[in-house]
């Protein structure tokens, strides 16, 4: 033995292995990661992979057969709803495990545990926000409500068993890629994780508000200016429930707080804390036309919920057939049932209500320990809990959170959100979704509804997030309910931070379910109605509705949808596809005349004139290869900045810029809108001056964009379907898709129509659908992104509602047979 070389060689080899066997910061464990038998290579599925199998699952009551079609969409034939839930859990885990778990970590405020603190501690702040908002408490409360319902309890138990049956047999080498990248392993699935996922959706859809910014605006601006910047009405809005609908007299008589003027509406207290609320345009479109307007005489229902366009997709498409129902649609990996879809009798689709159900109260604590707060004339004890936030690679953070009668304290001197400024104030939050509720019961029942009254009954347990749920059935009934449990509010309650020193500002109850806005359309040709229902997150009702609804509603998509549906008859499914993927920009339609009317030609050079001609002759479609939408977008952005920034930047406070509709309607009403003048210059600017200056700034942007090859609309807005970890290598980038925030085809940069569905309620049902993703969550699978190009091109897949005699059909590519094992 050569001692020295031996030990040197032993040392170097061992050192090499040790280096390759540990994580360096965020890197994977390289040796394991590269090993073709352990690492990422194991996730590279052969493109002709067979998905067949005989799978024995403990706890399965009967047998189940799953037929996969050429798009890897499972058609589940199960002996009971319980077995269907069990198999659904297994399939979700088989194809989407990492995503399912990751989303529940995001819900529970556990991202830093796996991803580290993030840039500028952003992930820790995110985690603290979610914990303080009460996501975990809310999920536990919801779970308790679900488990009280024996049907739902059994269903989620079965679902959880299905997920775990897959996890338990998973070998380390088969772990989804992301676990190998980030170096952790999946936990056991629990019913609580399903509840957390539901709360995550509630947060996404009903977690938004702007109370702090509005409080500041109210304090900073004069009453008159405030009214001009944040008006309570939109001139051209077309509400979900048409204007002029009569409403029931309110059952709840609201009592205004005695101090409402002095301590609330006229208060000039400001807030420096900053929030990072969910994307306010988490909206959607749905509509259903009655048979009176279709060529077949049968209703057509359409839905396209707008969510972050992510990979793996938030949706998993499937058919579930049991002895009692046959349902097709999209499910959420993370929970049982089909969420949006149709069965053999009915179809349903949902959009967000955008109601404000998250309000803040200013809390006066006795001292810095925050153990007692002033409430109804005496010091009252606050509950306190300590949250442990684990942070990868760092010591955990212990966060003490006080809970008041209003709800948990979201911000206090120890946590100012995303603000860098210190603050000595405390704000408690009351969020509707934190109250206990059983939404899963609604979806459980939806699988088997037969008619309008079943639908109406199934709705009742749905409390949060409030949704516009459109409905149509084969008997010809069409309906839409704005469903949820909404706090009954007096005018401007919760628009600003409310005083939290007595009970008079608390929510005084919920709007009774039968007072929620709704409309129904029958097939009766003699009944004079408009023949359709629709919603696109606009204001639900007109001002005769007896409760306060806030003002934060986008209106342009809804306007266009109603205009189109009013003007079309003898509708076919193809018409609906054309409409769902329509790029017409109704906001531009209204804004363009104003811009063109006010342009000062003398200040424009030849290049500018050429662009102006483009813009003037534009057909108002935000099409992928158009340049005019780019001009318009820059132009409007500069105009907004030039009009408001001089006043707004002076305040130094977090403020919200007025909505686009506010500026446009103000300028259309009055070209001498006072904000047009730049307060930083001695002279008084006019609208033509400002419009022209904004155009000249746009020209500079266009030159820049030309250099970067971003002159066409698709390249300029740059739509992605982005991996949940935001890594471009795992995303689909630079998609050639038009549309935008004001179009029915609301495809923005990272956000858009997450599932386009059209259901024609003929017999048999004719249905089409597509989502930006693929059935497999594995970036190494051809089914990871297999729908994306079609989705971007505005094409659809025909949805195949398989029947049990078609097991031998050539459309069936793979079969999984499930059976129970006796041992359990």
């Amino acid at each position: 033995m050569r001692v020295l070389p031996f030990f040197l060689s032993l040392f170097l080899t061992t050192a090499l292995i040790i280096c390759l066997n540990r994580q360096w910061g965020q890197t994977p464990i390289m040796g394991q990661f590269f090993s073709p038998q352990h690492g990422f290579w194991q996730n590279a599925e052969p493109v002709d992979q067979a998905f067949d199998g005989d799978i024995k699952l403990p706890g399965l009551k009967g047998r189940g057969d799953v037929y996969f079609d050429e798009n890897l969409i499972p058609h589940v034939f199960a002996g009971s709803q319980l077995d269907a839930c069990y198999i659904q859990g297994y399939l979700h885990a088989r194809f989407r495990l990492w995503q399912m778990e990751f989303q529940t970590f995001a819900a529970a405020g556990r991202l830093s545990e796996f991803l580290g603190a993030g840039e500028g501690n952003a992930l820790v702040k995110y985690d603290r926000s979610m914990r303080r908002l009460g996501m975990v408490t809310a999920a536990k409360a919801s779970l308790a409500a679900m488990e009280k319902d024996p049907v739902v309890k059994a269903d989620i138990d079965a679902y959880t068993s299905g997920v775990n049956a897959y996890i338990v047999q998973l070998k380390a080498s088969e772990l989804p890629l992301e676990y190998k990248l980030l170096n952790y392993v999946p936990e056991q699935w629990t019913n609580l994780k399903t509840a957390l996922f539901i709360k995550y959706m509630a947060y996404t859809l009903a977690g938004g508000e702007n109370d702090f910014e509005m409080t500041n605006a109210k304090a900073y601006f004069s009453k008159e200016d405030f009214g001009k910047l944040y008006p309570e009405a939109q001139d051209s809005v077309d509400p979900v429930i048409p204007k002029g609908t009569r409403f029931l007299p309110p059952h709840i008589q609201l009592k205004l707080p005695r101090t409402v003027d002095s301590l609330y509406l006229n208060s000039t207290t400001t807030v420096t804390d900053r929030e990072d609320p969910p994307d306010p345009s988490n909206g959607s479109n749905n509509w259903a036309v009655s048979g009176k307007k279709t060529i077949s005489g049968k209703p057509i229902l359409c839905n396209d919920p707008h969510l972050n366009t992510t990979l793996p997709s938030v949706w998993y498409q499937m058919q579930i057939h049991t002895p009692t129902y046959n349902v097709y649609g999209v499910s959420f990996p993370g929970g049982p049932f089909v969420i949006i879809g149709f069965n053999d009798s009915c179809a349903w689709g949902i959009t967000n209500s955008e109601r404000d159900v998250r309000d803040y109260y200013s809390i006066k604590f006795k001292d810095e320990s925050r153990k007692e707060y002033w409430f109804n004339g005496k010091w009252t004890e606050a509950d306190q809990r300590v949250d442990t936030i684990a942070i990868r690679g760092e010591l955990p953070l212990y966060d003490t959170v006080a809970t008041t009668v209003f709800g948990p304290v979201m911000y206090d001197p120890s946590f100012t959100g995303y603000s860098t400024e210190a603050s000595n104030k405390s704000y408690a939050v009351h969020w509707k979704a934190a109250d206990s509720s059983n939404e899963m019961s609604t979806f459980s029942k939806f699988q088997g509804i037969h008619n309008y009254s079943d639908y109406k009954e199934a709705l009742k347990t749905f409390k949060s997030p409030g949704q516009n749920i459109a409905f149509a059935d084969k008997a010809g009934e069409v309906a839409l309910w704005q469903q949820g449990e909404f706090p009954a509010k007096w005018k401007e309650q919760g628009r600003f931070v409310m005083p939290g020193e007595d009970s008079s500002y608390m929510w005084q109850g919920s709007i009774p379910q039968d007072e929620n806005p709704y409309m129904t359309i029958t097939n009766d040709p003699d009944k004079p109605d408009r023949g359709f229902v629709s919603s696109a997150n606009q204001l639900p009702v007109d001002t005769t509705y007896p409760y306060y609804l806030g003002i934060d509603y986008p209106m342009y998509r809804g306007l266009l949808i109603n205009r189109k549906l009013n003007n079309i008859n003898s509708i076919t499914a193809a018409d609906m596809m054309k409409m769902q993927t329509d790029n017409y920009d109704v906001f531009a339609e209204m804004a363009r005349p104003l811009l063109l009317r006010n342009i000062q030609d003398v200040r424009i050079d030849d290049v500018g004139k050429a662009y102006l001609k483009f813009f003037r002759e534009w057909d108002l479609n935000d099409d992928p290869n158009e340049e005019a939408p780019v001009i318009f977008n820059y132009w409007w952005a500069h105009l907004t900045k030039d009009i408001y920034d001089d006043e707004f930047s002076k305040s130094g406070l977090p403020l919200k810029r007025p909505y686009e509709s506010t500026l446009l309607e103000a300028l259309l009403r009055d070209s001498a809108y006072s904000y047009v003048d730049n307060v930083n210059t001695p002279q008084k600017e006019t609208l033509p001056q400002v419009v022209t200056t904004a155009f000249l700034q746009t020209m500079a942007d266009m030159t820049e964009a030309g250099k970067e090859d971003r002159l066409t609309w698709a390249k300029n807005k740059d739509t992605w379907v982005r991996h949940l970890l935001r890594k471009s290598a795992l995303s689909r980038t630079h998609l050639p898709i038009g549309g935008g925030v004001h179009c029915i085809n609301a495809a923005k940069q990272f956000h858009g129509p997450s599932w386009r569905m059209i259901v024609h309620l003929t017999t048999p049902t004719e249905a089409y659908g597509i989502y930006p993703g693929g059935q497999s969550g594995n970036p190494g699978s051809p089914y990871y992104d297999s729908f994306i190009d079609k989705w971007a091109a505005g094409q659809y897949n025909t949805l195949w509602v398989m029947n049990s005699e078609e097991a031998k059909s050539p459309r069936v590519k793979w079969v999984m047979h499930f059976s129970g094992t006796k041992s359990f």
Binding site: M1, R2, P5, F6, S9, L10, L12, T13, L16, I17, L20, N21, M30, G31, Q32, F34, S35, P36, Q37, H38, G39, F40, W41, Q42, N43, A44, E45, P46, V47, D48, L177, L181, K727, S728, A729, L730, P779, G780, S781, P782, Y784
Partner: protein, 114 residues
């Protein structure tokens, strides 16, 4: 000598493959060590036998997987790592990582035996 070299190389690859089915990834070092202990060679040759054995094993396995996968995953992972999205580069890096560890295992055995 040439035959011995190639037999060692093939045996290292074979044993590494079998170890990889049941043991952690670094068992390839043990496999190379064991084979080189049984078939003594000069240290430099032993190193190259281990190196080549693992280079071929990991490289060929990665290549076969990649062909069957039509480079779907390798092009994504090669963009995630700074490899310019090149599947070929990713296969070479994979082979090289295995080769270094295998070579190290063999070399250590050669010095022990000598």
């Amino acid at each position: 000598m040439v035959v011995k070299f190639f037999v060692t190389t093939v045996l290292i690859a074979l044993l590494s493959f079998i170890c990889g089915l049941f043991l952690p990834w670094w068992s390839i070092a043990l496999a190379a060590f064991l084979v080189s202990l049984l078939i003594p060679q000069r240290p430099l040759l032993a190193f190259f036998a281990g190196f080549l054995g693992l280079f071929l094993l990991w490289g060929v396995m990665a290549l076969l997987i990649d062909l069957a996968n039509q480079s779907i995953l390798s092009s994504r992972v090669a963009s995630l790592l700074p490899l310019g999205g090149s599947p070929v580069a990713l296969i070479l890096v994979t082979a090289f990582v295995g080769a270094l560890v295998g070579g190290g295992g063999s070399l250590t055995a050669a010095f022990l035996k000598k």
